[in-house]
Structures are given as structure tokens and as C-alpha cells.
């Protein structure tokens, strides 16, 4: 075992450090470092404009999407170089959140299924942040059961006509393009009648409505399609093969390695170091110590699991499914930590105002945002299904809709 870089890795790291030192927007360091949980603070500057500016600067110097082939805007870097980049980009990397869906999920799908001409046209601008992409998958009737989606696409000449509704679309309101999964044949079993497209988000008939979330923020949207026309050349994969195409997208959900995954541990540790409770100093209280030890062991476990994945990458291996545990562990833990932290403070623990609450109300923000962490990108329950089926090899769930044509599946309404 050895935690240091190989010689080549060290050389690369130095190159990255030097470029970041000379080019990063240092005026954003302070606000970015003190961002509340789930938000990106850029002080007096506009977050989207700053994100695009940094992304363009990286792209111009060859530091955007570094794992992509250079002809599509990357630099053909190895996975371990990508991890090193993420580690060194550090707090500035949070600016790139705007582009995660497009670069991490839409781009691999485009690379696998778009024509060469389309790849040349779209990928470099996606890498440079000049064009932002979103992913139109979830629907009011198809979340965990994604293949149950209802948005229709019907062929009309050289076009497809889209009608229906998507939901939970991150960033739709500032996106230029999106990839869209639709139902093209309701007479066959649900997984067989789907087809994937990409479209211009400014197409006529696209209506974007922000969702006001339970925590008061608005990071997601509903997207309505009313006779939206998409040319057949923007179809990704064969007609009826949309499910297969969507798996390419979902499998590319960015491995959260290189960066650190938020658990709430540093926040609660900082709180109990200062806080006093009935028995005296909170950090001396045995119940507090027991809980904290459990959470530290879990968060160290996630970090060490990530190190093992990096190690596997470094040896040219593909990290295994152990990395799917990250969000499952972190989401629940964050919710537990937040609840416990507030509880230790009594009613003042319920103060949401960052100017008054301890720790700039980060724990309170976590309390209100963590329910979503346990749902988005695969619910806790779906993740446990994935672990039990794909890692442990347990039998698949019994499906009441197996083999039924889509339009014969009971819907409950």
C-alpha cells in the first residue's frame, strides 16, 4: 500500500496545480468556500455567468472534460488524471455543477449514439459550457419506474411530434439542449416501446415551469411538450431501443470520486466542540460521543472506499459497484446528523436564518434538503435493490407488469 502519486501522476498534478494557481477566479474563493449546503455562492457575481466563464477558460486551455477525446473538446486524459484534476480544482469545481448533467450524462449518450457530424457540432460547446444540456427522463408517472413513462412521440413525415410532461428536470430553465426519452409504441411491453431523442430546448411548444421545492428552493422544473417537433436525425439509437440508450446515460452517472461527498460530519463536529448541554460540554457527553463515532466511522468508510476506487483507476481497473453505496450512506446519515444537531440545541436549533443560527445554518439547510438526497438519482430503496441484485446476485423483484403491453398495465387511475 502506498498513498503517494506515481511519478507520472506527480508530474501531472504539478502541471494542474500551476495552471489553476495562475487562472482560477480567486475572487470567488471566499464565497464558494462558505457556500451553504446545496447552493453555490458567488458573492456579488452571477453564479451562471461565473460558471460559464470558468468553464470557457478551462476549455480554451484544454482543461475542460479532460477525459473526453481532444476532437470533442477534451484532452484524452486517463481516469486517474481526471481524479487528480478534481482534487486540485477543489472549491472551484463547485462552479461546474451547472454542467454536471450535460457533461456527465448527456455527453456519453451523444458519444455513443449521435452521428459524427452531430458530435463535432455539439460536444465541444458542451465541454466549454457555451451550451448547457439537461436530461428529460423523470415523469409524474415514472420516477423509480422510469420505463413507465408516458410522454408520446409520434412519427409525422421526417419529424416526430412530442406530447406529454417531464418533471424534476435540473437546470431546464437555463439549458440550451436536452436528451429526451419518449414512448413511441404503447402496444408492446414497457421497456420495448421507448425511443430517445435530443432537442433544442427553445423549440416551439416547450414550456418550462420551475418547481417550488419543499425546502423553498427551486432547482428543478416541470417541462411540458405540446406538439413539439423533433427531426428524425435527432433520434439517438433505433426506434424502440430507448431503454438501452437510457442505460448508457444512467451508467455514466458521475462517480463521486476525487471530490468529497457531503455527510454533515464536519458540521456537527464543529457544533459539538463548542456547544454546552445539560451534562456539560456536548463533546464530553457519552451519548453524543457514541453517535459521533458511528458517523465518523461511516464517513471515513466512504472516504476510504473512494480511495480504493481511485486506486483501482490508477491501476487501469474499473471501480466496482461498491461505489454505489456512497449516496445511500451519505443521504441517510446527513438527515440523522441534522436532526440530532438541532435536537441538541432545543428550539433555537430550529432557526433557519444563517445570520443567527450556529454554523451559518448549514445543518438546518441539510435537514431540509436531505429528504431529496435520499430520492434523487435513485431512491434509497432502488439503490438497495441495485446492491442486492447486481452486487449480491439476489433474484429480481417480481413485476406485476412483466410482459404486459404498456397500455394494458394497471395504473391505479
Amino acid at each position: 500500500m502506498d498513498f503517494s502519486d506515481t511519478k507520472e501522476e506527480a508530474v501531472f498534478r504539478e502541471e494542474v496545480q500551476a495552471w489553476i494557481k495562475g487562472n482560477a477566479p480567486e475572487y470567488l474563493y471566499e464565497p464558494l468556500s462558505t457556500s451553504g449546503f446545496g447552493s453555490t455562492r458567488t458573492g456579488d457575481y452571477d453564479p451562471l455567468a461565473e460558471a460559464k466563464k470558468w468553464q470557457k477558460k478551462k476549455a480554451d486551455a484544454g482543461w475542460a472534460c479532460i477525459q473526453w477525446p481532444s476532437e470533442y473538446g477534451g484532452r484524452g486524459a486517463t481516469p486517474i488524471q481526471s481524479v487528480i484534476w478534481n482534487q486540485e480544482e477543489g472549491v472551484y469545481g463547485s462552479l461546474s455543477r451547472t454542467f454536471i448533467i450535460g457533461q456527465g450524462m448527456c455527453a456519453p449518450t451523444m458519444m455513443a449514439y449521435a452521428s459524427e457530424e452531430q458530435k463535432q457540432r455539439y460536444l465541444p460547446k458542451l465541454a466549454s459550457g457555451e451550451e448547457v444540456w439537461c436530461q428529460l427522463f423523470s415523469e409524474p408517472h415514472g420516477g423509480s419506474d422510469l420505463a413507465g413513462l408516458r410522454t408520446r412521440a409520434e412519427k409525422d413525415g421526417d419529424d416526430w411530434v412530442i406530447n406529454g410532461q417531464k418533471i424534476w428536470t435540473s437546470g431546464a430553465h437555463y439549458s440550451d439542449f436536452g436528451i429526451l426519452i419518449t414512448r413511441t409504441d404503447p402496444d408492446v411491453p414497457k421497456h420495448k416501446g421507448l425511443t430517445m431523442f435530443f432537442l433544442d430546448m427553445r423549440s416551439e411548444g416547450v414550456d418550462i415551469v420551475p418547481i417550488k421545492q419543499a425546502n423553498g428552493d427551486s432547482g428543478f422544473n416541470e417541462v411540458y411538450f405540446d406538439n413539439v417537433r423533433i427531426p428524425d436525425v435527432q433520434r439517438l439509437g433505433e426506434v424502440g431501443e430507448g431503454w438501452k440508450v437510457s442505460l448508457t446515460t444512467l451508467m455514466n452517472e458521475r462517480l463521486a470520486i476525487g471530490g468529497s461527498i457531503a455527510t454533515g460530519f464536519p458540521e456537527i463536529k464543529a457544533l459539538v466542540d463548542e456547544l454546552r448541554v445539560a451534562s456539560g460540554s456536548a463533546i464530553e457527553d457519552s451519548a453524543v460521543r457514541s453517535k459521533l463515532a458511528d458517523w465518523y466511522a461511516k464517513s471515513a468508510g466512504l472516504q476510504n472506499t473512494a480511495s480504493r476506487a481511485i486506486s483501482a483507476l490508477s491501476k487501469g481497473e474499473t471501480p466496482g459497484p461498491e461505489n454505489s453505496i456512497g449516496k445511500l450512506v451519505a443521504g441517510g446519515m446527513m438527515q440523522d446528523i441534522a436532526k440530532f444537531a438541532l435536537d441538541l440545541q432545543g428550539l433555537p436549533g430550529a432557526i433557519m436564518d444563517p445570520e443567527i443560527a450556529s454554523g451559518s445554518a448549514r445543518l438546518q439547510a441539510m435537514l431540509m434538503r436531505s429528504p431529496a438526497v435520499r430520492i434523487e438519482g435513485g431512491t434509497d430503496q432502488i439503490l438497495r435493490n441495485i446492491i442486492s441484485e447486481r452486487v449480491l446476485g439476489l433474484p429480481e423483484d417480481m413485476r406485476a407488469d412483466k410482459g404486459l403491453p404498456f397500455n394494458k398495465i394497471p395504473t391505479g387511475n
Binding site: 500500500m1 501522476e9 464543529a270 457519552s286 463515532a293 465518523y296 438497495r384 435493490n385 446492491i387 439476489l394
Partner: protein
């Protein structure tokens, strides 16, 4: 970065794995469990022939000097196979105490005997029904003799020699005591395969560890090191318990389908896997910290210990649950892991003790 064991280390693990697969199945454990023998002499000798007891002992003292990373993997195999031999007490506790705090002469005398398997060792700490503390140790050390009673000593029935925590005037010290002639009484324990006994010393000849200035601190240090090795035994056991549960859930049918297709059970096993994976990664880090005397070793050891204890407890407990009624029979092997997991949880002080040590080892500010 290379956060993995080397091929050489894995090769040794594989040899031990194959030896134990061939020579140490559940019937060995049951033979000890049912009182036919206090430990498996045959397995102990087989391991000794392979040099396993001397894995981390310096070649100067007759060991193989293959390092702690290799010993960690050996420990994982011991845990997975529930090997009914006094390996942990001899190798992780007795030999470590000697290597860390023994005089040159003491090391020269004892370490080769442990490395070759000729001698089995242990450590004698607890005296009352409370967890051992510096203020509830009454056994005395005076004029190179110890007197007093140790209530529960793992492998006390089979050990030839023990490190004894004893009071020397106001302070505590660690002394080597040969156990021939010392009165021993077996104690019925949650895991009867650990040959646990009471030891009563009556002016028994004893020799202080040469380099031990404070017995309590030295014990804590030895426990930290042993904690990493026991943690590897725990993840070895947890992995097997999970494997048993998964295998059974695939074969057993109820309501016309394999019980492993029910989400209530699938999710339970997914949680077992998650606990195991987190513990395993923490163990890897602790192994590295042990091998390299890392500055954060105490924190790494406590972290591995806490998560490995949680993982083995969860996996052995829910393995029974997946097996249903059959899991609660003497005949099924589920209780073997349940017994071992609960014994190992308490062997170096319970979970709460290690949680407390973990927090004590955290740096004051922002530590994640």
C-alpha cells in the same frame, strides 16, 4: 496511489485460505464448541508449519517478518473460518506486548516460541463484572510475584504463558507469568470456543516487561494494535455470514418464490453489504496505518474497530433472521458466527469504549 494489498500479501492469504478450507471446516469449531477438545491442536500445528504465527514477528526472533499487512489478511482468514485456535491471544496480544514492551532477553526467549507455535500466550486483564479500568485492578505485583484473581481470560484454559496486568505499589504494570501450576477454572461464555478461564495467582513467579513504564498505557497501545487485527477477523466473519444469508435466500422458497426475491430481505442484505464495505475500507486504512506507524494510527484503529464490530454484529444477527426458524437451531451454523461476533465485540473492551476512544483521537477542529 495504491490502496490495495500486494500480490505477495494476497498469495499468503490464499495459502492460509486454502489450508483452512481443507482443514478447518465447521466440524472443527463444533468439536471445540461441544467440549471434545479445548482448541484444535491439529489446526494450530498446521498453521505453525506454515509459519503463520510468526507472520509479523521479526526474523531476528524466528518470525517470517512478512509485515502487518500480511498478518491482517491472515487474521481475516482466521475470522472467516472461525478457527478454534488461540491465534488472536498469542499473536495479536501476547507477541505484540512482548515486541513493544519486552526487554531484549524477553523477546529472545518468547517470540521464537510464539512464532514456531510451541507456546500459546494470552493476556489477563479483567477482574470484576465491570469493564476493566485502571481503578478496578487489584492483582498485585511484588518481589517478582503476582497474586490475585483474573475473572475472564480468553484462551486461559490453553495458554502456556500470560501477560498479566497487575498493581505495583501505586501504578499498574505488565508482567509475564508462566501458567503451569496456576489455578484455572473454565468460564461458560457466549462463545465457548475461546477456552476462557479464571486464573488465580498465588505468589506466582512473574517478570515485569522490561520496557513497560506504565502498564495501563502499554495495555492501551497493545489493544490498539490488536484492535486492527481483530477488526480483520470481524470483517472475515461478517463476509461469511453475509454469504451464508445470500446463499440461503436464493435456495429457500416460500409463497412460491425464493425468499431472496422479497424486498424486506433483499434490503436487509443490502444493508449488511454496506456495513461490511465501509468496515472493510476502514480496515484497509488501519492496516496501512499499523504497518507504517502513521501519526493517526490510534484514530484509524478505533475507526476500523468500531465499524468492523458494527458490521460483524449486523451480519451475524441478520444472517439468523434470513434463515428464519432454522437459523435458531443448534444444527445450523448461524449461531457460530453470532457467538463469535459477540465475543469479539467485547474482547478488547466493548463498542462504547471504542467509540469513546475514536472521539478522543479526533483532532479538535474539523476532522472529517
Amino acid at each position: 496511489m495504491n490502496f490495495d494489498f500486494s500480490d505477495d500479501e494476497k498469495m499468503v492469504q490464499d495459502q492460509i485460505h486454502r489450508y483452512l478450507n481443507d482443514n478447518c471446516d465447521f466440524s472443527r469449531f463444533r468439536s471445540v464448541l461441544e467440549g471434545n477438545e479445548p482448541y484444535s491442536e491439529q489446526v494450530w500445528q498446521g498453521l505453525a508449519e506454515m509459519g503463520v504465527q510468526g507472520t509479523a514477528i521479526s526474523s531476528e526472533y524466528g518470525g517470517v517478518e512478512a509485515g502487518y499487512l500480511t498478518l491482517c489478511l491472515a487474521a481475516k482468514e482466521m475470522g472467516a473460518h472461525l478457527a478454534p485456535v488461540p491465534f488472536s491471544t498469542s499473536v495479536y496480544l501476547f507477541a505484540e506486548a512482548l515486541a513493544r514492551y519486552g526487554s531484549q532477553a524477553q523477546k529472545e526467549k518468547w517470540l521464537p516460541l510464539i512464532a514456531s507455535g510451541q507456546v500459546k500466550g494470552t493476556i489477563a486483564v479483567s477482574e470484576t463484572l465491570e469493564e476493566a479500568r485502571a481503578d478496578n485492578i487489584a492483582t498485585s505485583f511484588k518481589d517478582d510475584q503476582v497474586s490475585g484473581s483474573k475473572l475472564v481470560v480468553p484462551q486461559g484454559m490453553v495458554a502456556d504463558v500470560a501477560i498479566v496486568l497487575a498493581r505495583k505499589s501505586d501504578a499498574l504494570t505488565l508482567a509475564i507469568v508462566e501458567l503451569e501450576g496456576v489455578s484455572r477454572t473454565p468460564v461458560e461464555m457466549v462463545d465457548p470456543t475461546m477456552a476462557t478461564s479464571t486464573l488465580v495467582f498465588d505468589n506466582s513467579a512473574a517478570e515485569e516487561l522490561g520496557e513497560c513504564s506504565d502498564g495501563w498505557d502499554a495495555l492501551a497501545d497493545v489493544h490498539n494494535r490488536a484492535a486492527v487485527l481483530i477488526a480483520f477477523e470481524q470483517i472475515g466473519g461478517a463476509e461469511k455470514a453475509l454469504e451464508m444469508a445470500v446463499d440461503y435466500a436464493k435456495e429457500r422458497f416460500a409463497f412460491g418464490r425464493p425468499i431472496g426475491s422479497f424486498q424486506a430481505l433483499k434490503h436487509m442484505m443490502a444493508d449488511m453489504y454496506v456495513a461490511l464495505k465501509l468496515a472493510e475500507s476502514n480496515c484497509y486504512y488501519a492496516a496501512w496505518a499499523l504497518q507504517n506507524d502513521s501519526v493517526d494510527f490510534a484514530l484509524a484503529a478505533a475507526t476500523a474497530r468500531v465499524s468492523a464490530t458494527q458490521a460483524f454484529q449486523l451480519c451475524s444477527r441478520d444472517n439468523i433472521q434470513v434463515h428464519g426458524g432454522m437459523g435458531f437451531t443448534w444444527e445450523f451454523d448461524c449461531h457460530l458466527y453470532y457467538r463469535r461476533s459477540n465475543y469479539l465485540t467485547l474482547m478488547l473492551g466493548g463498542l462504547a469504549t471504542w467509540e469513546d476512544k475514536l472521539i478522543g483521537a479526533l483532532p479538535a477542529a474539523d476532522a472529517a
